[in-house]
């Protein structure tokens, strides 16, 4: 069975060919059918360009893009069976919610009664049954987001693309929408491709994710793999702000002379622990405290659960960890 989306050494360069800006640089990527796939990375890392390559708003400078085995590199957006939830939702302000949702069916020439019935069905799916006659301007941010979702789903796309769809929502709403998106995806069985710069969102929602850096994919894997076994320093630092230790320090801690990562929450206060240093800062996180120490010129952060005894800033403390927590990175 062909993959839902496949990138074969796809590049997208901007600007003059003599000094191109490599937004996407020979990326290979396979997204399985029915997956909830996240593209994670800082801004400018190429994740949004990748999404636009799938939707067709960008064309690859080199390489091939296949959707369900079909090469779509030369297919315009309106002929691709993928739909997008835009970051700014891009709802049509002159149409009411029902017409917005039915738009994809309207341009296909479906009769009014039929497309309105389908639109109402989609609105029910996102719990907005009663809002069909409102204008987008009369809705809250969260409601607009749902309309955008319903509008993108009405064409029954094989792949749904979501461009930072939760970015504009407040924390509580964002968490509710995360759950809802996840269950919607499981119910519909559509492949979701989700772009975000929020690692919590990516880790908690995706089945698998790609971490982007500088137009390239730094690592692809399941959230657990990415979190526990980062392949590069960038991934270790970007996902979960891990402590990245240089080879010398890794060696001191009993590892090989390679870069390694150590998760802050795997560290605990231990009078006989191998990491000794001065407390430089102490921050309250709600669920615990983040303690930073300096040891051998290296800053190390530890997250201490609520209720554990706290050191004073400036105090000398020792931190320990389970040997398995030290993750050796083969790549730099």
């Amino acid at each position: 069975m062909p993959a839902a989306v496949e990138f074969r050494s796809v590049s997208r360069h901007f600007g003059p060919s003599s000094a191109p800006v490599k937004a996407v640089d020979s990326v290979d990527l396979t997204i399985a059918e029915g997956a909830f796939f996240a593209m994670l990375g800082p801004s400018g890392s190429g994740k949004t360009t990748c999404l636009r390559l799938i939707s067709g708003f960008e064309s690859p400078t080199a390489g091939e893009i296949c959707i369900f085995g079909e090469n779509v590199s030369n297919t315009p957006p309106h002929l691709r069976n993928v739909n997008t939830v835009f970051q700014d939702y891009a709802l049509f302000p002159h149409m009411n919610v029902r017409d917005n949702v039915a738009y994809g069916l309207m341009v296909k020439g479906m009769a009014k009664a039929q497309r309105y019935a389908k639109a109402e069905e989609m609105l029910a799916l996102v719990h907005l049954d009663a809002y069909g006659s409102r204008k987008p301007g009369q809705l809250s941010g969260g409601q607009r987001q749902r309309v955008a979702l319903a509008r993108a789903l009405v064409n029954e796309p094989k792949v749904l693309l979501l461009d930072e769809p939760l970015g504009a929502l407040d924390l509580k709403l964002r968490e509710a929408m995360q759950d809802e998106l996840k269950s919607l995806q499981q119910r519909l069985g559509i492949t979701f491709v989700f772009v975000t710069h929020d690692q919590h969102e990516a880790l908690s929602m995706a089945d698998s994710l790609a971490v982007f850096n500088d137009g390239k994919i730094a690592q692809i894997g399941t959230p657990a793999q990415i979190y526990a076994q980062p392949k590069t320093r960038f991934v270790a630092d970007f996902v979960g702000s891990s402590n990245v230790l240089p080879p010398a320090l890794t060696q001191n801690l009993g590892g090989p002379a390679k870069w390694s990562s150590l998760r802050p929450e795997s560290l605990h206060l231990d009078p006989s622990g191998p990491l000794q240093g001065t407390v430089t800062s102490l921050r309250y996180l709600g669920s615990g405290h983040r303690v930073a120490i300096t040891t051998q010129g290296q800053d190390i952060a530890a997250i201490l659960p609520a209720g554990s005894p706290l050191p004073e800033p400036g105090a000398q403390i020792q931190l320990g960890f389970a040997p398995a927590a030290l993750h050796i990175m083969d790549e730099v």
Partner: protein
């Protein structure tokens, strides 16, 4: 004990007063222009309206200051009615022509022109407005004249037959372009085009690219996107521009005098009636027509949902 606050000067007292009572400042700022608008602008309009309900004594030629609808009834006389119809058709045609000509220019400027090209665009649109209206109209008369550059160019390129065919059209043709309705249409469209381009461009610029992408993403072709998204969103700008082109054409009295077959237009009628003829009531009644037409036009546009995207 030393004072916490420094001593206040008169200016400090004033700024404090305005800070505490912001509406006072607003009232002070807005009263003079409001007076201007109310008295000089709307007041004179009311006086005009009042005049149109007076009539003229046919023997003495004196204005009779008594309320009557007689003057309005006169508008329905065939020769007056023709003037109204002619002006209306010309205004509508000029507006339509302006919309068609202005749209690609405005669209390019809003979507594609960046930096220096945007400056070139604004300069190109505004530059013709800086030169005298009369100079431009007379220049056009020369361009369109029988001995003018257009005829010459047609002769040189052996396309006379096209020009002759246009001039042979019944009703709108004529002896030469400068004495035909076609010529008048060209001059009107040229003179008022910037007033269509600018509001159109402003409204197109407010349409985010993502909205066009969303339309495409949902399966719309370019033509469908144009019809169902771009046009409705640009409509407030088109309406704003058409208010300019329509009302400016309706009220103009110079272009129909210089270009065309000297058929009468509303503006010319007003000019002649209140001047040489001394029939101020009928002139006023004529002047009310464009106002009424614009009001009808706007209410129709509103009912059609032209301002829904605002």
């Amino acid at each position: 004990m030393s004072a916490v606050l420094p001593a206040k000067s008169l200016a400090d007292r004033l700024t404090t007063l305005f800070w505490r009572k912001p509406k006072l400042l607003l009232a002070l700022l807005i009263t003079p222009p409001l007076l201007w608008l109310g008295v000089i602008y709307l007041g004179s309009l009311a006086a005009l309206l009042l005049q149109s309900f007076y009539s003229i004594d046919e023997f003495s030629g004196m204005v009779v200051p008594e309320f009557t609808l007689k003057t309005y009834a006169e508008l329905l006389r065939p020769q007056n009615y023709d003037i109204i119809l002619r002006t209306l058709i010309m205004s509508a045609t000029v507006t339509l022509g302006s919309v068609i000509l202005a749209f690609p220019i405005a669209y390019y400027a809003a979507r594609y022109a960046k930096g220096r090209w945007k400056a070139v665009f604004y300069l190109g649109i505004m530059l013709p407005l800086w030169s005298s209206y009369l100079v431009k109209v007379y220049a056009w008369k020369l361009i369109l004249a029988k001995e003018g550059i257009l005829t010459w160019a047609a002769t040189q390129t052996h396309t006379n037959f096209l020009l002759d065919a246009a001039l042979a059209l019944p009703g709108i043709g004529g002896n030469s372009l400068s004495t035909s309705y076609i010529g008048m249409f060209l001059v009107f469209t040229y003179v008022w085009l910037p007033f269509m381009i600018l509001p159109m461009q402003a409204s197109l610029e407010r349409v985010p690219t993502s909205m066009l992408e969303a339309s495409q993403d949902l399966g719309a072709t370019r033509a469908q996107t144009f019809r169902t998204v771009i046009i409705p969103l640009a409509l407030p700008g088109i309406i704003a521009g058409s208010i300019f082109t329509f009302s400016l054409t309706m009220g103009d009295y110079i272009i129909p005098q210089i270009v065309g077959n000297s058929a009468n237009f509303i503006g010319m009628a007003v000019y002649q009636l209140q001047g040489t003829a001394g029939n101020t009531p009928l002139a006023a009644a004529f002047a009310v027509i464009p106002i009424v037409i614009m009001l009808i036009y706007l209410s129709l546009a509103k009912r059609a949902g032209a301002f829904d995207a605002l």
